[in-house]
Symmetry: C2
Subunit: 334 residues, 2 copies
């Protein structure tokens, strides 16, 4: 009996067959030459670029996620970085390192997930590379366009008095991961709408189209995304901006979904909120009212005068209700 096409591995179909499967799953007329050419969106439009790498067993598991969800997660992770600059994602490049025994269907699913997740942004998978390796590794590069003459939305623009704003959930990805770890298999997570939603968010978080562009257009002063953990990422923003950020516990407290999951697992949901990353929620500051889709979660304060010989003398750049938070660690890739 012939091997069904979906059971073939990348070794079976080779480089050309694997690339053909990717291009069919995420088609783009821009793909297929030595490099892709991107049209300039407007005179003086600046390009924005970022890259992120996902390793199986570390950033995702195919035991828990479908290949399509992995593709979605990779796009969200990269597009959140583009949006955190206030730019519009336009293109994706994928470098894939795969063990030879990987089914082509896995590669096809990842590419389809990338194409589907990029599509609402009018962005396309425009190129890539595929090589053999011992671990499945996906390196995605996203490009974007920063329209008009205004500066990009950087991580260092927060000033004392600015409101801290956020758009998206906090701690949901960490809760989903905790559920997967607790129950060991995705199909063993109870058939409960809330728990399923959290698991789904961990496997394939999404990003509201244009949310970062809106923040830039309405005068936000700084922005980043929650990738390594709330306290950790806000600390980077506070340090780079030279401010203290005081978060309001009432504005970030665990929502009903997190409280429900925490009850099931008998843990403190604050750990997820403060230390959990990978929600890719946009977090920034503004001197104005939060724009549509953003809520206020704290404010930026002046760094107190200290001994100028000891850096800025501040041990803790992020507080919750004026005090050092219970969790200050986050996700680290090394």
């Amino acid at each position: 009996m012939a091997v069904p096409p979906q059971a073939r591995t990348v070794s079976d179909v080779g480089e050309a067959g694997t690339i053909a499967a990717i291009r069919a799953a995420a088609p783009s007329a821009l793909n297929g030459d030595d490099a892709a050419v991107l049209a300039a969106a407007a005179p003086n439009a600046r390009q924005v670029c970022t890259t992120d790498i996902l390793v199986e067993g570390q950033h995702f598991s195919l035991d828990w996620s479908t290949p399509g969800e992995v593709g979605t997660k990779a796009v969200t992770q990269n597009f959140a970085d583009i949006q955190a600059m206030g730019a519009r994602p336009t293109a994706v490049l994928m470098s894939l390192a795969v063990p030879g025994e990987t089914p082509v269907d896995v590669v096809r699913g990842i590419a389809r997930g990338i194409g589907t997740a990029a599509s609402p942004w009018a962005a396309e998978l425009v190129g890539g590379d595929v090589v053999r390796s011992t671990q499945l590794i996906i390196s995605l590069t996203a490009l974007g366009v920063l329209a008009g003459p205004d500066p990009a939305l950087t991580i260092d623009g927060a000033a004392p008095g600015h409101t801290v704003i956020a758009s998206g959930p906090l701690g949901h990805s960490a809760a989903g991961l905790a559920l997967l770890r607790h129950f060991g298999r995705r199909d063993r997570v109870p058939d409960d709408e809330i728990l399923q939603r959290l698991v789904q968010w961990h496997c394939a978080p999404t990003l509201t189209v244009g949310r970062g562009s809106v923040a830039r257009a309405t005068g936000a002063s700084s922005m980043t995304d929650n990738s390594d953990g709330l306290i950790r990422d806000v600390t980077t923003l506070a340090e780079r901006s030279g401010v203290i950020i005081d978060l309001d516990s009432a504005a970030i407290e665990p929502d009903a979904d997190l409280r429900h999951a925490a009850e099931v697992l008998d843990v403190d949901p604050w750990t997820w909120v403060l230390g959990g990353g990978e929600d890719h929620t946009l977090i920034g500051t503004t001197a104005f009212q939060p724009s549509a889709g953003y809520r206020t979660i704290g404010r930026a304060l002046r760094v107190p005068d200290t001994d100028p010989n000891v850096d800025d003398g501040v041990e803790q750049h992020v507080l919750v209700d004026g005090a050092v938070p219970a969790v200050t660690t986050g996700w680290s890739s090394l």
Copy 2:
């Protein structure tokens, strides 16, 4: 006794320490935010992007190459793709997957190699990501700018009657690899200027600055680079352009360096010329005289009329002196 700083591993110094080492080794003011912002070089300047992934043991070996040479090779590989479009490289993003026991010096050396190789092009390492893995994997993305309104130099523009041109060596990287494999260790390769030069070219091939931009400016009709093997890459160009390409054996015959190495190893140097890749020599076509730095290596011919039901009916798109070449295979990544 304290561990000397150069003996520390990426596990020792963690994500922040590793990133700091990279940024110090290849500094750029554009690095350090969620994404890098690239200035538009000119009104309507289009962006060009490409990515390539290198796996240790497959595309390079730290037993044979210094980390700096690996960085150089990665840049050459990517910039050749940018130049093959007739564009000028402007920026590099590096995603690095490293085993925890990798010395930080290795990462620093790779970053320094990238920065040094990008520097003559006025291009910078503007961002990246570092994660842990079981294999050392470098995924580089290069961005470039295509100035002015003219079309990019694509792979599908060759037409019957055009001259086939090349700029750079053919088979030197394959000869260098054969020498390394034969002698087992780099320091066992005889201290012979020619052999050392071939080994050096395999470990760290370079690219003449601006050679691809010149070809586009002087009316070349198509271009690619020799990454997977001469016959294989020229076949892709010929197929995409819908032509037959006939190479002139006198113009591509093994040069004195290859003949010397072939004598030492007692092999046929034509295998390196026809099947060896990774020279990243620019190969294209033109309806005009070859521009400075290019030599003529063949010509494009019309595809003979054939049965329209059998694709274009052509089995072999690349000939040497009108005949099927002795080697038609090349490097494949899977």
